[in-house]
Amino acid sequence: MQIIESSQVYDVIIVGSGAGGGMATKILSEAGLKVAVVEAGPFFDPADPDQMTQLKWPYESPRRGASTTRPFGDFDTAYGGWDIEGEPYTKENGTDFKWFRSRMLGGRTNHWGRISLRFGPKDFKRKDHDGLGDNWPIGYEDVKPYYDKVDKLIGVFGTNEGLPNDPDGFFLPPPKPRLHELYYIKGARKSNVPVYPSRMSMLTKKINDERGVCFYCGQCSRACQVYADFSAGTCLIFPAQKNGGQIDLFVNCMVREVTTNEEGKATGVSYINKEDRKEYKLKGKVVVLAASACSSARILLNSKSKQHPNGLGNSSNVIGKYLHDSTGSNLMGFIPDLMNREAYNEDGVGGMHVYTPWWLENEKLDFPRGYHIEMWGGLGMPSYGFGFNPNALNKFFGLPVGGYGENLRKDVKKYYGSTIGMAGRGESIAQESNYCEIDNTKVDEYGIPVLKFNYEWTDHEIKQVKHMQDTFEEIIHNMGGQVIGQKAGKDTNYGILTPGEIIHEVGTTRMGGNKKTSVVNKYQQMHDVDNVFIVDAGPFVSQADKNPTWTILALAWRASDYIVEELKKQNI
């Protein structure tokens, strides 16, 4: 079989269409460059009735939204998950990592929580504070102008609070808290845990004439048909196309490797078209990888040549190393004061209206770094699983659990809306010994060698989640409530979730000034190959107790500006 080669030479080939790829597409195409975007999944538009799940009722799915087909349920907008048929990955014995992939235009931005937090000044220089990990080669002042531009371009609600490590921005006004959130504010403050309006990328107010304003259905995880929340397709790629950008979208195309010439420079990419299962080549002057931290590492490690025997741009042998995800643990509580609720529509925006950023100083604690607290509850739309063990909470009152008939009905309605949940999402320390590599013994169904993961939490992370569990319990008690189930103990490492489960994996192609210990420079350009850039979360040196998307967007914009400048100067 021949590899089918296109004669077209693109200025830039962008691999992946999520946050980083979407931003690169917008900035590079609007600079007049001819761009190819190669996406492993299908085209997706949340306004397309054939793809839409927003405003569907549970009974519109025969399984009432159960998670047998999609990992977060039928109505969630992620085509993919931790396990994708035909696209396996492996793990080193005794270690664990779960790798979430969304195969669709816009990638994981279609379903994400939209929690949009800037990194603060300390987050770029953590080694200076605790001696662990490494500093970034850039600081907050380098990224701030881009965070500002991202806020204005995409829209994020929140408030300027003047916090030292949770910087102010250009915010839309936040929605008012819901009832359970008022209880949380009261309960948290009792323990001196501060609470602020959350910072999320939904439009509570108009930002332009192209996108709609939030209509408070609480379903951002289903992707918004009026484009009132951020996803890379609706807010970056579609507008770039409308603005006349020269963009060729290649969907259902899975990139295998970056191709190179005799000098070791990139010449383009080769990919498998999933529809005809044949291999193709695209030519480009610059290749921008935005396939996600682990996918980009995989592509590079699979791009071996005489000039790059360990994989493209891997003379440091650092590609794949320093993989790290957020720490996470959850706890649920029952709040008797929230029983027998009056019915009203409190869907609000998708997710939380309030949150707690990290609030303590580590000097007094037995673990480094911190976490933020997310919380949920309320009179939500029922779906599969609603009403399981409908009166288990009776045990708090010494009443019989179980039964049938009229009592069940009363119990279901009595307890509806009376439970809350809390989740901590924290910063782990990047470790050289946590990595992904190529498993030469396994291929996916496209013939591409797969990734093998090797990841273990350290004591730092386990002590951090213990602190989360203790804090959550205290707040639940302050709310007049009881913990549901049991607070996680030492036997389960305090309920720390498996690496990868929080879907904040970063660090596999980290940036730095030294080409022996890092993969890309401070503009996300590969040290070894000057016409390859990485604009997903691979270049993150450390991950902060923030969600990575807003930083991916800001850095992708910054790297794209640099690419345009360098092309103008004919440096690449």
């Binding site: 799915s61 159960a66 332009n208 409190e346 179980g402």
Partner: protein
């Protein structure tokens, strides 16, 4: 003796109520003249997902006797009353039939549990569960419907686990139906403008918004005005 043949005759004998065995995935013939079930469910499926739904709809798991027993059991769990419909009014048995194909690990516990019910009913009253009197049915349920909350579910006796699973599926199926959602009082899933907790609810819970917080929140009368900021990030519009 031909072992396979004898197994087949045992199997056929076992489903005496009439469902012929057409291999492992018998087709549902009754639905042929109506719209195919998969076409009734329009919820943004990918082609592959739609194909899977189609395959599940074409499969039949429970036989007629099992389905009838499930209907009787569901309506004991959520009976009709003056105000509300029953589980079967909300088509819960069809939902359960779909779920056991979607989650095959439910199949043996539910099928075996239904057998247990008939066994128990035959033993105590010399009649199958579905044909027993309501009083007799309830007497049986009273022995399996109240799990000890201190014992983990998977360590409970099989018949208690069976009932818990049936109750979970019935309650979930009912309260995710149109009728159940109405009864529950869920008011959302429609475009609206959230403007805070109603005053009477705040009063009832003796809780209030803090003025300083409220001042930062969105003024919904200005939501359609395009946002503009000064250089410091103060919203001007």
């Amino acid at each position: 003796m031909d072992r396979r043949k004898s197994l087949k005759s045992i199997l056929l004998g076992g489903v005496a109520s009439g469902l012929a065995v057409h291999g492992c995935k018998p087709k549902a013939e009754a639905v042929a003249e109506e719209v195919a079930p998969v076409e009734k469910y329009i919820y943004g499926r990918t082609p592959k997902e739609k194909k899977r739904d189609q395959e599940l709809f074409e499969e039949v798991f429970f036989n007629k006797h099992e389905k009838n027993t499930i209907a009787v059991l569901c309506d004991l769990i959520l009976p009709a009353s003056d105000d509300y419909g029953s589980a079967t009014d909300a088509e819960v048995p069809d939902f359960i039939e779909f779920m056991v194909k979607d989650l095959p690990e439910l199949q043996i516990p539910l099928r075996g549990g239904l057998m247990w019910l008939d066994h128990k009913s035959n033993l105590d009253y010399n009649v199958e569960f579905k044909s027993a009197t309501e009083e007799q049915q309830k007497a049986i349920l009273d022995t399996i419907a109240f799990p000890d909350p201190e014992i983990p579910e998977q360590e409970q006796p099989l018949e208690i686990q069976f009932f818990s699973t049936m109750r979970n599926l019935t309650v979930s199926g009912y309260y995710t139906s149109k009728m159940g959602i109405k009864e529950l009082g869920y008011k959302g899933n429609m475009p609206n403008v959230w403007n805070g907790v109603p005053d009477e609810v705040l009063a009832k819970h003796d809780i209030s918004y803090d003025e300083e917080w409220l001042a930062k929140c969105v003024d919904q009368s200005k939501r359609a005005i395009i946002a503009e900021w000064d250089d410091k990030g103060n919203l001007l519009t």
